[in-house]
Symmetry: C2
Subunit: 754 residues, 2 copies
Amino acid sequence: MLFMLSAICVSAQQNLVQYVKPIIGTEKMGHTYPGAAVPFGAVQLSPETETISYEINGKYNGKVYDYCAGYRYEDKTITGFSHTHFSGTGHSDLGDFLIMPTQGKLQLNPGTADDPKSGYRSAFSHKNEVAEAGYYKVKLDDDNITAELTTTTRVGMHQYTFPKSDQSHIILDLMAGIYNYKGKDVWTYVRVVNDTLVTGYRQQTGWARTRTVYFAMSFSKPFKSYGQKNYDAKQAYHGFWGKFDQTKNFPEIAGRDLKMYFDFTTAEQEKIKIKFALSPVSQANALTNLRTEINGWDFEKVKEQAQASWNKELKRIQVNTSEDNKINFYTAMYHAFINPTTYMDLNGQYKGLDQDVHTADGFTNYTSFSLWDTYRALHPFFNIIQPTRNNDMVKSMLAHYDQSSLHMLPIWSHYANDNWCMSGYHSVSVIADAIVKGTFTGDANKALDACVATATHRNYDGIGYYMDMGYIPAEKSGVSVSNTLEYAYDDWAIAQLAKKLNRMDVYATFIKRSNNWKNNFDKVSGFMRPKLADGSFKKGFDPLATSGQGFIEGNSWNYSFFAPQDPAGLVQMMGGKKKFASRLDTLFTMHLPDSFFAETEDITREGIIGGYVHGNEPAHHVAYFYNWTDQPYKTQAEVRHILNMQYKPTADGLGGNDDCGQMSAWYMFSSLGFYPVAPGSDEYSLGSPSVNSASLHLENGKTFSVEAINQSDKNVYVKKVTINGKEIKDHILKHADIVNGGKLVFYMSSKPKK
Amino acid sequence: MLFMLSAICVSAQQNLVQYVKPIIGTEKMGHTYPGAAVPFGAVQLSPETETISYEINGKYNGKVYDYCAGYRYEDKTITGFSHTHFSGTGHSDLGDFLIMPTQGKLQLNPGTADDPKSGYRSAFSHKNEVAEAGYYKVKLDDDNITAELTTTTRVGMHQYTFPKSDQSHIILDLMAGIYNYKGKDVWTYVRVVNDTLVTGYRQQTGWARTRTVYFAMSFSKPFKSYGQKNYDAKQAYHGFWGKFDQTKNFPEIAGRDLKMYFDFTTAEQEKIKIKFALSPVSQANALTNLRTEINGWDFEKVKEQAQASWNKELKRIQVNTSEDNKINFYTAMYHAFINPTTYMDLNGQYKGLDQDVHTADGFTNYTSFSLWDTYRALHPFFNIIQPTRNNDMVKSMLAHYDQSSLHMLPIWSHYANDNWCMSGYHSVSVIADAIVKGTFTGDANKALDACVATATHRNYDGIGYYMDMGYIPAEKSGVSVSNTLEYAYDDWAIAQLAKKLNRMDVYATFIKRSNNWKNNFDKVSGFMRPKLADGSFKKGFDPLATSGQGFIEGNSWNYSFFAPQDPAGLVQMMGGKKKFASRLDTLFTMHLPDSFFAETEDITREGIIGGYVHGNEPAHHVAYFYNWTDQPYKTQAEVRHILNMQYKPTADGLGGNDDCGQMSAWYMFSSLGFYPVAPGSDEYSLGSPSVNSASLHLENGKTFSVEAINQSDKNVYVKKVTINGKEIKDHILKHADIVNGGKLVFYMSSKPKK
C-alpha cells in the first residue's frame, strides 16, 4: 500500500509538516515521544532513554510513570529504538522490539545512564537530534553511529550509519519494554529464515494481560553471524536440544527471556538499514506487510512518503495564526492523529479480544482506546475532521463488544485486551456522538444494545449499586463519586442515542439515570461528596483532596462541575447563575496546597490554573461553563488563558499528559472557538478563537470556515458571533452548521461584553 | 465429518473391535493407555492415575518415566481424564486439559494416592473398569460417580453419572500434564462464552518448546456457577483488573497457572455430558470441530461411531488364528493406528513448525512422529495397509521441512515442534520407503532434496564429523557409535531413493556414506566400538554396557548387528556365515548381568531374550539375520519365540514400550511371516507366521493373502514357502507381490530345515 502522493506533488503543496514539532511534550508531563510515526500507524518507532522496572522488589516504582512514552527529554542517553508507543498516556505498556546499533565488544545489557559505555546504550545530545513528523535522527555518541528512523503504517525503517569496524552489531532486545517488570515476558519465538530475514513474535502480560506482537525483520545487508542469550535460568528442560549449540547461529529460537544480536563488518560510513514490520496475527502477515508497504531500500523515499501522508492529513485544517500557534496547532493535530492506532494487517486480519484471529469486514480495525480521556474532545474532533476513521473506530469498539465474553464495550483497550483503566464506560459517549452526528454507518440499534449491555453490567465497578441506589456507596468503592458522575453523563449519552433511534423505553431508563449526579451533590457544602450506603454523606470531607474522597484523578473542586449533560441543572443546584459563576471564579483563582501536588500523580504546578487542573481531564469542559451564567466573557478569557498557559512550542510545552490526543483536541477546538461540552449532543459551546481564521476541509467536500475579526492577544473577548451571517446569541454552534460548510465569524474585542 | 457407517451396518459385519484390549501394555513397560481414541485421532481421552513432576528440586525425577502414558495399571486412584496422550513412548509430554467430576466440598488439588479424599482424585478398581477401542468406563469410588469416555477425531465426549447433590463439580485442571514441572506452563486463556460453552487455549513449553492447544468445551446442562484459581503468585501487575472479582463467575480468564471448576446441582443418576474439542489453531476452529463432529448429546451414538471407525480400519486385515492371538493382533493393529495423530482442523488449518498457521493442501497433516522407532516397521506397515495415510504422513514431514528454519526433516516431532529426540535422521528412511514402494504422490525430487539437506546439516549431532571423517569421534559425542551406524543406514535409504530417481550423483555420495558403519567395527573384538579422533578405538570397551560406550538405548552386543542395509557385508565382517550365526546364537541365549538392568532405563527382564532386547528398537531386525546365514530356521524359531514371549493379551503383556506402534507393527509383520529388515528396499525377509491365514485388503482393491499350512505352536519351522505358487528360495518377499494381491503360502513343520 504505497502512498499515492508523490514527493513532487507534496512539495508543490503547502508544507504543514514544517510546523509539527514532535519534541513538544517530551519533557516533564507531556508523555509524548519524538520518534517516527505515520497517521494512526501501527508502528511508532521512537528512542527509549531509560530502562525502568515497574516493580522493585515487588513494589511499584513511581519512577516508571515518567517513562510512559519511553523517552524523556531530560535524559542524556538512548538505550535503543522500539516500535510501539502510546502517545501521552499516564499509564503505559508497549515498547516492543528494541533495536540498538553498537560497535566493538558485544554488550547485551543496556548499562547505566551514568556510564553508558557499561552497556549497549549510548550518550546523545539534543543538538544532534532531529525530530519531525515521520522522521527521527540522532547521533549516538558512544560509537559515533548515526541513527535515522522513518516508518509506514506497519513497517518501521531504520538507517544506521556506522564507522568502519569488523565488530559492528545490531542488538535486538526482546526483553526491553515500557512499564516492564520481571515476569512480564510470557514467551518469545524467533526464526532466522536466512541471513537477511528474521521473523518471530513476543508475547507479554502486564497492563494487557495477553498481548502478542509478531514481527518480520529484514536487513539491507547479510549479517555475518548472529546469536542469542536466554536469560531464563529456569528453562531447564531441554530434552535433546543440547544437540545444537543454540547460542550461536541457531535459527530456531524460543524462550521466556531472550536477547539477540547480529554481527556485521562495516566500511566507513556504511549504512545498514532495517525494515521491521509488525502484525497482530502472524509472522506471515508481518512479512506480507513488510514486503508490500516498503519496496526496496530507499530510506529517503519512505521518509518522503511518511511526511506526505502527514501533510495530507494536516491540510484538512488550514489555520491563519502566529507562527508559534501554527506550531502548537499542527503539533496538536499531529498528536491527535497518532492514537488510536491501526491494528490490522494489510489482508484485514487482526487478533480480537477473544484472542482469535478476525478479519475486519469493511472497516479498518483500530486499537489503543484511552476512552476516559478521548471521549471528551478527540472523538468529537474526529467526527468533524476524520469522520471515516471515527466511524471505523466505533466499528472497532463494536467488534470488541462482539468478542467480549463480558459483553462489554471497551473501557481502555489495547492490543486485544481491555485493561479497564479509569472510570465510566465512555465508549457509549463516542458511539452516541458518532450516531447523533451522522458519522456512523453501521447498525445503530445494535450499537445501542451494546451500550445498554455495558451500562447494565452489574458486576462492573459499582454499576449494580449505581443501578439499585442511584449512586455508589462510599463503602463499596474508593472512586464512588467520580464513577457515579461519569456513569450519569454516559447514561445521558445513551439516552440521546436512544432518542435518536426512537427507542423511548431505553431513553426513559437512561435519561432517569443521567440525573444520578444529583445524588452525590451535598447541598450544604455545595460539593459533590461521597455518600454512604445509609444515605448520609461520608464524614471527613475535604474538597481539595484527591485521595480518599471518592474521586479518581481529580478532587471535589474539579469533579463538582462534572455534569456536562446538564449545566443548567448544575447551575441551579449550586444556587443560581451568580453563585455558580463565583464558584468558577474561585476555581480558576484559588491557591492549591502543596499536599495536592504530593498526592496527585501526574500534575505539576504548570498544569494548573488556580484549582483548575487542565493537565487532567475531568474539568476540560469547565471553562465553557460561564456560558451558562451571565458572564460568558469569562469563558472567553479563561479559554485563551488556558491556550496560552498550557500549550507552548517547547519540549516542556504541555501542561499535562497529552492523553492520546485529548489535550491536543482541546487545543484545536478551543483555538477554533468552540468545544463539545457534552459529546452526544449536536451542539458546541462557543469560546474565543485564537486563530485569525481557519478552513476545515471536510470529507463531504464542504469547507467550514472560522474567522476572528480584529483578533489579537489582547482582543480575547467576543463582541458578536455569526453563523452564515446570522448572529448566535446562545453561545451554541450546531454540528449541522459545521458539516454543511458554514462560516463562523467572531467579532473580537479587548473588552468583555458584560 | 460424521462417519459413514451406520450402527446397523457395523453390526452386520465382522466385529473386530471385540479383540481390541486397550488395557494391554498399561502395566509395567508398555506405556500404552486404556482411554478412548479413534484411528489417528487428535484426541486421545484417557484417565491419569498420578501426578508426577519431571523435576524435584531441579533434578530429574526418574519416576516420571513410568507415567509416559499417564495411566498405570498398578495404581489405585484416578486423578482425572485428559485429552492428549502419546501411545507407548519412552519420553513424553501432553496430558492436556484434565477433567474430573467430583461432589461435595470443592477441591482443586488432586491430593495423594494414599488418601484420595484429600483431593479431587478418586479411588477406583479394575473390576469397575471397561476399556474398549473408542470407549472407556470406570466407576470413581470416592464420590460414586460413573465416568464414561468416547471420542471422534477432534472431539472427546465425557459422560458422568452423578449421585444427587447440590454440590456437584466438574474440575478443569489447566495445570495438570504429563512430564509436568513448575515452569512448564507458559500461558492459559479461557473465555466463558455462556453457561454451557467455554473456549480457550493452553500454551506450554517442555519437550515441545512452544506448544499451544486450543479448546472448546460444551456442557449438556448449564452450570450454575463457575470459578477459577490463579496459582501464579507473581502475577502481581493487575492494573484495574481489581474492578472485578475474578475468582468467581468472571468470564475472561488468563494467567500462567490456572485451574477452573463448574458447579451443578444433580439429581440422582443424572448424567452431565461434556464435548471437548481440540484445535492446533484457534478457539474458533475448535468450536467448529466441536459442532461439526458431534451433533447433539447422544453418547451411545458417538461411541458406536467410534467403534465403527475402528472396525473399518481393523478389517483391512483378517486373520485366522487363536483367540488370544486375535487379541494380540488386533490390539497391535489398534496401537499401530493411534500415532501419528491428526494435527489439522476440519478446515485444513494447522500450526506449522514456524508457529504460523498453514492450510494443508490436499493432505491430512499428522504430528507425533517417533521416527527412531517407527521408521523400522510401522511406516513400512502403513505402506502396505495404510498407503494413503502414509503418503499424507510423508507430506506432513515435508511440510515440516518447508517450515524448518534449520532446513531439516523431523527427527521426533510433535505439535509444531521438533524435540530432536534419539539419533539418526530417520524420516529419510520413511520417505525413501514410501517412494521406492510407490506410495508417495508428491514431488519425489524435492523430497530427496529435503533428505540430502537433513543428512548434510553439519551442525546437527555430529554430522559434520561424520561427513569429514566417516565416523563421529568418541570425544565429540556420547552416542558416537549409534549415531554413525544409524546415519549410515539412513544414507543407504537416501541412496536407494536417489537411484530410483536416477539422481546418480546423490546416489554415489550416499551409497559411499552408507558404508561408514564399517568405520566403527573393531575387527579384533568383532564389535562396533567407539573410535577416537586419532583413529584408535577408545579404551575400556565393554560390549555389555549401555552407558559410556557410545550407544543410545542399546549396548554393543545389540548395536553391532546394526547394518540392516548390508547384512551380507556384516556377515563377512564378522567372519562369515558360521561365525555370524554363532554370534546371533550367543545374543539370544546369553545371560545379562544385573548392571545392565540398572543402567538401562526402559528395559525389564521380561523385555529381553538372552542379550536380545526386544523392548528397545535397535535390534528389531536381528532375528531375521539368520536368513543371511545357513541357518534361516533359527529366524523362524526366534521370531516365534519373540512373538510368544513379548506379546501377551494382558495388561502386562508388552515386553517394552510400544513406541507409537513400532512394537505392534513388529508383531503384525512377524505374525504374518515377513519383516522389512531394511526399509527403503522393496524386499521383506521371511520368518515364520503365527497366523493360520490372513487376508490383507489393500486400498488398491486387491487382497494379499497369507496361508500357513499345517500351522501350530509346535510347527514353527518353514518347510517351503511359495508366492503365487512359485517357491521362494532366498527368503525374500517382494513388495510388488504384496500390492499386486499375491498369495503367500508357508508349509509349516515341527522340524527345522537344516
